[in-house]
Symmetry: C2
Subunit: 165 residues, 2 copies
C-alpha cells in the first residue's frame, strides 16, 4: 500500500462511554482531507456485554459507509483507576476485532507517538492537539469533541507512518 494512492484512513480513540472516530482521505498527491469526525457513545445504564454489543454494532454501521483501508487505534495508558482501565481495555478489544472482521489493516500508536507526530510535543494537551489537527487538515472550525480530534490525529499518524516508513 502506498501513500500516494487515494486511501481512507480511520483513527480511533478507544473508550467504553465514548469512542472517537476520525476519517481522512489522501488525495493521491500528498494532500490530506478530513472526511468525518464523530463519537460513538454507549448507554451507561446497560450491562457491560450489552454496551460492548452496542459499540460493535455502531462501529460496524460506520465502517459500512466509511470504508477505510487502514485504522490506527490508540494504545491505552493508565495510571489511575483499575476498573476503568479494564472496562476501556474490553472496549478496545471489541474495536480491534470489529476492524479486523471488516478487513481493515490495524496499526497502533501510543499517546506519546501521537502527540509527538502531530504537535512535536510529547506532553501536548487536548487544546494543542485540536489546534494542530485543525491547522494540518485546514478545517474552518476547531474539531470537537477532543476525542474526535484525537481520532483525526491518529488517522494523520497513520498517513505519516505509511508515507515515511
Amino acid at each position: 500500500m502506498q501513500y500516494d494512492q487515494r486511501m481512507r484512513i480511520l483513527g480511533v480513540d478507544p473508550g467504553l462511554s465514548t469512542a472517537g472516530l476520525g476519517l481522512i482521505q489522501t488525495d493521491g498527491k500528498g494532500g490530506l482531507q478530513a472526511l468525518d469526525w464523530l463519537t460513538i457513545k454507549t448507554s451507561p445504564t446497560l450491562a457491560l456485554p450489552d454496551r460492548l454489543l452496542e459499540l460493535a454494532t455502531d462501529l460496524e454501521e460506520f465502517l459500512r459507509e466509511a470504508k477505510p483501508e487502514i485504522a490506527v487505534v490508540e494504545e491505552l495508558f493508565f495510571s489511575t483507576n483499575k476498573k476503568t482501565a479494564m472496562d476501556v481495555s474490553q472496549a478496545r478489544g471489541v474495536i480491534l476485532v470489529t476492524l479486523k472482521k471488516a478487513g481493515i489493516d490495524v496499526l497502533s500508536a501510543t499517546p506519546l507517538q501521537l502527540k509527538t507526530a502531530i504537535t512535536g510535543d510529547g506532553q501536548a494537551d487536548k487544546k494543542q492537539m485540536q489546534a494542530m489537527v485543525k491547522r494540518i487538515l485546514n478545517l474552518s472550525e476547531t474539531p470537537e469533541p477532543a476525542d474526535a480530534a484525537d481520532a483525526l490525529g491518529l488517522a494523520l499518524f497513520g498517513a505519516y507512518t505509511y508515507r515515511f516508513s
Copy 2:
C-alpha cells in the same frame, strides 16, 4: 428461563493465550451433565488484533455446534502485571461481544463467587476446583487443563444461579 427446562450453559475462563470453555446441559430433572470442555489458544507470534480475530473466529465456530442458551464469563482480577491485565481484558471484551452476537445471555462471576459456589471455599486452589468439578459432574477423570475445569465450574455456577435466584 427455568432451570428445570433442558438447557445448555457455557462457562468461559477468559484469556488471550488460552481461554477455557466448559459446556454443561441440564437434564430437565435437576441433573447436570458435562458435554464438552476444551481450551482455545491464540498464536503468540501474531499481532494483538490478529490474535483477537483468531479468538473470535474459534469461539464463533465452537458456538455454532455448542448452541448454549446462557454463558457465564469470569471477571478478571489482577494484582500483578498491568500489560497482561490489559491484554486479557481486550480478549474478554471480544469474548463478551461474540457471545452477545450469537444471541446468548451473558452472566458474570467473580473468582470468589466461583470458588465459593463450587467448593465452599473462597480460597480454593486449582486442584480443589478440578476435584469438585469432577465429583459434581460425575466425570471418570479429572478435567484438564485447569482453565477448562474452571470453565465447567463457571457453567455450574450459571446452573445454580438460575436454579436458586
